[in-house]
Assembly symmetry: C2
Homo-oligomer: 497 residues x 2
Amino acid sequence: MYEDRIRRPALMNKLTSAADAALLFKDGMTVGMSGFTRAGDAKALPMALVERARQAPLHLTLLTGASLGNDSDGLMANAGVVARRMPFQADAALRRKINTGEVMFIDQHLSETAEQLRSGDLKAVDIAVIEAVAITADGSIIPTMSVGNTANFVQQAKQVIVEINLSAPLALEGFHDIYVPGERPHREAIPLLTPWQRIGATAIRVQPERIAAIVITDSPDSPSNALPPDEETDAIARHVIRFLDAEVKAGRMDPTLRPLQAGIGTIANAVLHGLIDSPFRDMTMYSEVLQDSAIELLDSGQLKMASASSITLSAAMHEKFIANIEQYRERVVLRPQEISNHPEIVRRLGIIALNTALEFDIYGNVNSTHVGGTHMMNGIGGSGDFARNGQLSIFVSKSVAKDGAISSVVPFAAHVDHTEHDVDVLVTEWGLADLRGLAPRERAPLIIEHCAHPDYRPQLRAYFEEAKLGGGQTPHVLEQALSWHARYKREGSMLVK
Amino acid sequence: MYEDRIRRPALMNKLTSAADAALLFKDGMTVGMSGFTRAGDAKALPMALVERARQAPLHLTLLTGASLGNDSDGLMANAGVVARRMPFQADAALRRKINTGEVMFIDQHLSETAEQLRSGDLKAVDIAVIEAVAITADGSIIPTMSVGNTANFVQQAKQVIVEINLSAPLALEGFHDIYVPGERPHREAIPLLTPWQRIGATAIRVQPERIAAIVITDSPDSPSNALPPDEETDAIARHVIRFLDAEVKAGRMDPTLRPLQAGIGTIANAVLHGLIDSPFRDMTMYSEVLQDSAIELLDSGQLKMASASSITLSAAMHEKFIANIEQYRERVVLRPQEISNHPEIVRRLGIIALNTALEFDIYGNVNSTHVGGTHMMNGIGGSGDFARNGQLSIFVSKSVAKDGAISSVVPFAAHVDHTEHDVDVLVTEWGLADLRGLAPRERAPLIIEHCAHPDYRPQLRAYFEEAKLGGGQTPHVLEQALSWHARYKREGSMLVK
């Protein structure tokens, strides 16, 4: 059995249970696991490691592509298995451990982890745990619904554990394009000139003798937890579409736009969903993750093709995707995240980057990660890779949170992930601020009047007016700059009564 | 006369005075001028525009490579000629106008201005004013001591004014390598694989009919205003060299290191100067500006070659450079700033980026631009291009300023130009903090104990301890986060008495 999944007969004797594979792990090891935005994560080993930690001390440094599904991150964190974690996560239980300081979280640009492993800036991966559709006759590993950092982990790990997931259809073979940049100082240009180009192999090469164990699983990825569009996300989508339409009419791009990137989550997904009612045709995506909206746009024909590092769908959309998988194979490419997010490619293609802000200030500095300036939400993800190096950097947010108690537009961002240098356009349900070519003093009125919730505009105007009395390129009243966040903590609302 | 400088006879009739050339300018125009870190700036037109503004209203948007010399920026600002300015400046008088809000300053990554002009995100350049060594027989322009955005301005401007500077030796021909990326969406990979490679032309092509005026000048660039090394910059240099030496010993790079970038100014120049006493050999530079230290390292033989967008030297070093110019031509390449700072190349080569911080916080967020969080100093320059995309990002600063009244290490950066994601190493005269692979809570003790001035360490420790009580990935006491800056304003010192 499994001949179609393990096509190199000599590897059959590596078949083992997850519990036995877990015995390979030792306290203090660095482990690289597949998985990117809940897609393509290992299903069995995380649970087996939780079990193993009950018998012996097991504190690992865990690297992944991005977030894992199946509550793996939370279960491993609660069991004490995860001592250090990078480069991204999105799990409530792990988040608690991070914010109490029990787990050290290193929040990284998603294009950079592989580079830092390669250059030795990070400790080398001891064991890679990789979900696969199959192992080919030459021992190469065919990934499932994401690529992430998997190729890099496999390249570096002393031992590779492969989880063959029977629920991942064999028809996924051919979706992946595995290209890994060479070592410095003799690195070539990456030969990718269009989003649809394939430049690598369809599977991850590995010397078969490094495959230490093969475990069979049969459970699907966790479905996407993006919420459906609502009135506010619809409004945001309309503003973005009107803006892009004006760019086309001004002759700055043709109606195919530039390749689109959209961050993970509800708002970006909703904006992309809104593109179904747009005048744009033959669009392409060059993104890190494809959500339901990308499949909808592929189906509507408005999206010609889509490149990403993972596919994260709702249960219903996943079913549809699998049922029609043959028709997507020619139009979807899954790449390593250092290629999907690579500065070289992002700049060359001139990506339109669409990412979600937690909050932004009146000058256009964006906080993507820290609630209240201190507590980690998920991580910066790829937003910085795209916002810095793309052609257009758009950040979207609802204007308020917590029933209006929190304004997303504040005098001073309590944490900065994207500086004013990297933010071209800000959008909320109230409107859009086009910041290109503007100085901070010109940005503030636009952001206040176009993006802030009307309830907060008087407070923001008053702050800006008072700040200007002190002068400066970026006027502030430093004594009050963070007072909104302090007021929320103290009184439960940023609004001055 | 000038046959060697204007080699296309038909252009001789374009010779005119600066005053007459200034008549081409109209109120509200966008002007692109050569000039990068005081090198290769137009000498006559800025003064002629100041004169012209006395007769007619003249408010311009002025783009350059980076800072101008000869007090041009200040004189034009004081005359009201500069209404908008980008992407960088370093002039005391202009800075005052920026900080009062009289001049709108758009502070940009130096690699991005050309890209924004090309994509139409910025208003097109009406007139380019370019300093040149000569105009070739086919009408191409040979730049002088910098390239900056000159090729882009020339490509876009309706009219080009060329200033032929007789004090710039003809022997500068051959130093420049002019390559301009193509239009999207059909852009090729940039074929530059090593710092020394030449991929373009030695002069800037222009249709001769767009050359509207040629003005003869004969005055040199302003000399560099970098201060000589001192005890503290020597200490910083020693820490950096010890760190790089450890990288070599750990096998992460060979003794040629990676191509070096060093920001403009005293500290970076001093650190590079310190490399003369280092064990590294056959080094290369891939930087935006070459200062005295680069020439010293070329002369000592430790630097094999250097690539940049400008050469900014002290008067003595300039004289030496010109006297021996033939021996430098094979070892020095001057490129457009979008190539010297290009994310594609910076990532491919794995640049070691060495830039100066005004201040940084205990978690590694860096302020490069805003004094007291509000008042513009010079601009972010290329630091973001290199810090984000290079292999190693090092920021250096003296631990205190104003005789100890200001600590460069603060609880919370009052302005953020470089986020913790982009800062690998921090250095002051007291020591070095290697932040790679560390979470914010791990970074703080290193930064406090290795980098802060001992007088400020107790205050920083107390802040960090109190902040941790509130929890979070990046603990803060928001009510006190900016209190150090407020205290300095109120009491003249950040130190608690």
